[in-house]
Amino acid sequence: MSFDIMLGQTIVTGLLWGAIYTLTALGLTVIYGIVNIVNFAHGDFLMISMFLAYVLSIAVGFSPLQSLPFVVAALFLLGIVTYRLLIKPVLNAPMLAQIFATFGLMVFLRGLAQFIFGIDFRTIPTALQATRLDIGGIFISTPQLIAAIGAVVMFAAVYFFITKTRTGWALLAVAENREAATLMGIDSNKMFALAWGIGAACVGVAGCLLANFYYVFPEVGAIFGFLTFIVVAFGGFGSITGAFAAGLIIGLIEALAGFLLDPSYKYSIVFTVYLLVVIFRPKGLLGSA
């Protein structure tokens, strides 16, 4: 097989994984951008949504794609409940208290999943799983392609919602200046809750698309959460377009570094790039100071 095809395959694989990273990063960046809180339980929201898809597949035989609307609705609620119960009380507290709140939530959710489901790896068998496209010797797994398309659609939807709708403007207004927005008659609490709902719903989409081809286990959030933070910081905290670009770039760097250099250094290279960005452009690729 020629090197070109190999390289092409690596780039395609990298972009497909990058799309998944963008989707998990989207929710995190929305929450940060509007509520100004870093949600450390974000990866575990992803885990919860994957387990919900799993439970639905066992209980009613839904494929993850069929479960998607239900999981998204559930995650939206989870986001709002989390805001009401956990975030609102620490909204004006020191940053450290906010971090401990979401960090504690992370430990709790992971423990809860382990308690209910044990630590096994589970897969949701679907007819889609085994299918793939073969384009000139480059293989594209169908569920991964669906995930990538889903990521793009979700991005467009969230971007449109925030920038083009009245509610979106209200969200932005609250993010810009909470007091002024309140004076204008916007209920900032409602807006923050909505932001958490949207952020969590994004992970609901990501979880279902991921559960279509990836295994589900209580630690899955740790693995993806880790890269998600890098993507968000790289793209610029709060930047939606930044998260999109950064996700794809990280996916590409990871794949190319693994293929062209040495797989054992692939995350070191991702980290190096991230550190360079943090040092020379602390606001991230597309963030504004």
Binding site: T13, G236, S239, G242, P263, L286
Partner: protein, 440 residues
């Protein structure tokens, strides 16, 4: 470019970085619980500490190992006159007035630092007589350092890094054969395949996760390959906690290797099989250094995509054909847990029996006495559920010198069957493994 308002960007980024690092080290925790109840208050107890990854990414394996140890404790503490195993006849440790063994569990969550602190806790607070553990070689390495410093016997039944015995520790004993022996086995196996005319001059790829276990395996395989004059076309170390392994598989494809010698833990083993399939990589064989590939979780996660791999094993259920004791012990295990034993379970099981046997012969819980008894261990093959020639420790390295491996293949219905050495084989080897598009 659209940006939502944000404040304190640098601080946030740095804080996030710090917390991510914390995150990486912080799994969820669970309270370790004593595995056996110490209700026989009138009888003296002998505490043994068992440090395994009970939670975290290797949690599935940790529970398995613990079940193996628990079954052995059950056999030691009660009377099983029908079982031809060390310590099965009498009740408890007969030379210590029938003292019962009490397990105290420690959870290392696959972290060498936690393994160290758990060893520290078990020795200083729980006052254990001896320690067992820790599966992951990197963790065994740190935990056994603590035992060495405190002069407490440490029996390792399940870590296969050759470097562990190269330290020549006084208190560290290992029953399982190590990866040097297993790597050597691989090439004897390949030579046998040549003799059978199944291969002529195969191109080999060496693929391993990049912690202590994997890298040591990689080194051992490279050494043996040289000695047996095999051609290695690709040598790939990969990060143990990868989200995806697309680029690694691309590298393998690019190398044109026919046989992949692979060392992975369960989550990456599953991930690799899925990626091999997605990218249509069809080597003649995947020859795995057990670990993830013989883990209970492997087939659960990989399903039929996980079939046909070959793995070196320390144990297989079909050894029961030659050793009836295997069947008996497996039945006890299955009655309790509903699943068959695995190589991991049987190694941990055997480890505890060896330790109990030594403490019993020592007739004392004094560390020096137990150490002396361990050195004098001589268990014949017919008292083992392992395919070994027995257990005897090398006086210097404390490695069991009578261990040996077998090679199993996952065949129809996801059964692990022994295919090598030919004389222990219960089924014919399927060679090469079926191509992805030929599988149903």
């Amino acid at each position: 470019m659209y940006v939502i308002t944000r404040k304190k960007p640098l601080l946030s980024a740095l804080l996030a970085t710090a917390l991510i690092l914390l995150l990486a080290g912080c799994g969820s925790s669970s309270t370790p619980k004593p595995a056996a109840d110490g209700k026989a208050a009138a009888v003296k107890e002998v505490k043994i500490g068992a440090i395994y990854p009970m939670t975290g990414v290797q949690g599935v394996t940790g529970l398995e190992l613990m079940r193996g140890v628990e079954l052995a404790v059950e056999i030691v503490n009660n009377e099983y006159p029908d079982l031809a195993l060390p310590m099965a006849k009498g009740k408890g440790l007969t030379n210590l007035g029938g003292a019962k063994i009490v397990l105290v569990a420690g959870d290392h969550q696959a972290s060498p630092e936690k393994g160290m602190s758990e060893a520290e806790r078990l020795i200083t607070q729980e006052k254990v007589t001896a320690l067992m553990g820790c599966y992951g070689s990197a963790v065994t390495n740190t935990a056994s350092q603590v035992a060495e410093r405190n002069g407490i016997p440490f029996l390792n039944a399940d870590s296969t890094s050759p470097s562990l015995i190269a330290r020549n520790y006084q208190w560290f004993f290992r029953t399982t054969p190590d990866d040097d022996m297993f790597a050597e086995n691989f090439f004897v196996f390949l030579d046998d395949l040549k003799a059978k005319k199944l291969i002529t001059d195969p191109k080999l790829a060496i693929l391993y996760e990049n912690t202590l276990f994997g890298t040591d395996v990689g080194k051992a395989e490279t050494r043996s390959a040289k000695a047996h004059k095999y051609n290695i076309v690709s040598d790939i170390a990969y990060p143990a906690k990868s989200t995806n392994v697309g680029s690694e598989v691309q590298k393998l494809k690019a190398s044109g290797a026919d046989i992949v010698l692979q060392a992975s833990y369960a989550s990456d083993a599953i991930l690799y099989m899925k990626t091999y399939k997605d990218l249509d990589y069809n080597p003649a064989a995947i020859l795995a250094m057990d670990a993830g590939f013989i883990d209970d979780a492997y087939l659960k996660g990989a399903g039929k995509d996980g079939y046909y791999i070959l793995s070196r094993e320390v144990w297989a259920l079909d050894l029961a054909k030659a050793k009836p004791i295997v069947e008996k012990v497996n039945k006890m295990f299955k009655d309790k847990h509903g699943v068959n034993m695995t190589g991991n379970v049987s190694r941990a099981f055997t480890g505890l029996l060896v330790l109990a046997d030594a403490i019993n012969r020592a007739g004392s819980t004094a560390p020096a006495a137990v150490q002396k008894a361990l050195l004098a261990t001589d268990i014949p093959p017919d008292q083992l559920i392992m395919p070994w020639k027995g257990i005897k420790f090398d006086p210097k390295t404390h490695q069991n010198i009578l261990g040996q491996g077998i090679i199993v293949q996952i065949q129809e219905n996801g059964e692990y069957v022994t295919v090598w050495p030919w004389n222990l084989a219960s089924k014919e080897i399927i060679w090469p493994m079926p191509k992805w598009n030929a599988r149903k």
